[in-house]
Symmetry: C2
Subunit: 182 residues, 2 copies
DNA sequence: TCATATATGTCAACGTGGCTGACTTAAAAT
DNA sequence: ATTTTAAGTCAGCCACGTTGACATATATGA
């Protein structure tokens, strides 16, 4: 698919279409973030807390520097957020076994609960968009987004996905569908 | 395509996949913004200036309140940015003809130049992602993003697209491809 | 073992870009 | 004539990013 040179597809590479895509990305991201904002206000947390909770939840036992690389912010910025979350009892830090300088981060039960609360509407919104547009569109969505992200993170994402696929092979195929809950 | 009920597609609606999509969106947006950041620094502008320049460029003669609706910020926030851009000679304000309370915003020649400079790398990045993934993926990308945005803006986007398509019918098909410049 | 590099944390100061609230002005709409 | 709307302004505040300078514990390599 997609031999560029041969395609007369007007959707391709015209500046207007690129700008259209940029604008869609802006609106989508704006509205996606807004889904969590009232919940954040309720918990008296900011978006930075949300991001930290999210990534710690997604990458259990991630180290501080690992988290810094994902978020691309300075450790001074992150440390404020992490201090808050520790104080609120939402995350825990445990020293690394192999390398005791590291701090491995994990959500507490409370952290898990808050994180789920924060992303619930976002997941619902994304699920609705996925449902409305179909598996093929979702696949394209993912591919283009992957194409936008940096080499390193792209490889990390793809590796994680492969790994997840492997660890599911022993599970009977039925189980995989059964989990659909949104 | 995409009858959800009948599909055994494991990509669909599992929480893990939704979270995967959320993360991709985050990374893509993060990296997309970063493309413009050095240029912004060079011009001594902030991201808020970029957004204003972009949307004024995309929506010529937009009013202040129109811009406020797109950006979803307060007029106090916007006014700082607009004041800067006027001072720098990048935008111009002209009173409305029908309604003289309104200020219609437009980029000056300098504003156009700076805006193009700001989005150049972003357009190149998006173009690369589009090229790599193909027309079908791009279509899915757009559909899912449209599904994420609010009713009002979604309709506005689709209307604009339809209108653009109409206004191009008189143009010979060849010309449409010829413009591809990235 | 000693020197260096790394992982983390901390203090201080600052900039951007959001926000609320209060109030003004001009013009449109009823 | 009154009310509503579009825009602007002043003031103060907050979240969250930044730089820079240092401190500490641990790991690692010569």
């Amino acid at each position: 698919m997609a031999d560029l040179k041969s395609s007369f597809n007007p959707l391709f590479l015209r500046e207007e279409d690129l700008r259209d895509g940029m604008e869609l990305l802006f609106f989508a991201y704006r509205d996606f973030l807004e889904e969590a904002d009232q919940v954040l206000a309720r918990h008296k947390l900011g978006r930075a807390h949300h991001r930290a909770l999210y990534f710690i939840g997604q990458h259990p036992a991630i180290t501080v520097s690992g988290l810094l690389k994902l978020l691309r912010i300075t450790k001074q910025s992150l440390s404020r957020v992490l201090a808050d979350l520790v104080t609120l009892g939402m995350i825990e830090q445990t020293p690394g076994l192999r390398d005791r300088r590291q701090r491995h981060l994990a959500l507490t039960a409370k952290g898990i609960e808050v994180e789920r609360d924060l992303t619930a509407q976002q997941r619902a919104l994304l699920a609705r968009a996925y449902r409305q547009t179909g598996a093929e569109a979702v696949d394209g969505f993912r591919k283009v987004l992957l194409g936008l992200i940096t080499e390193g993170d792209r490889r990390a994402m793809m590796a994680r996905r492969d790994q997840a696929a492997e660890s599911e092979q022993p599970v009977p195929a039925r189980a995989r569908v059964g989990r659909a809950g949104l």
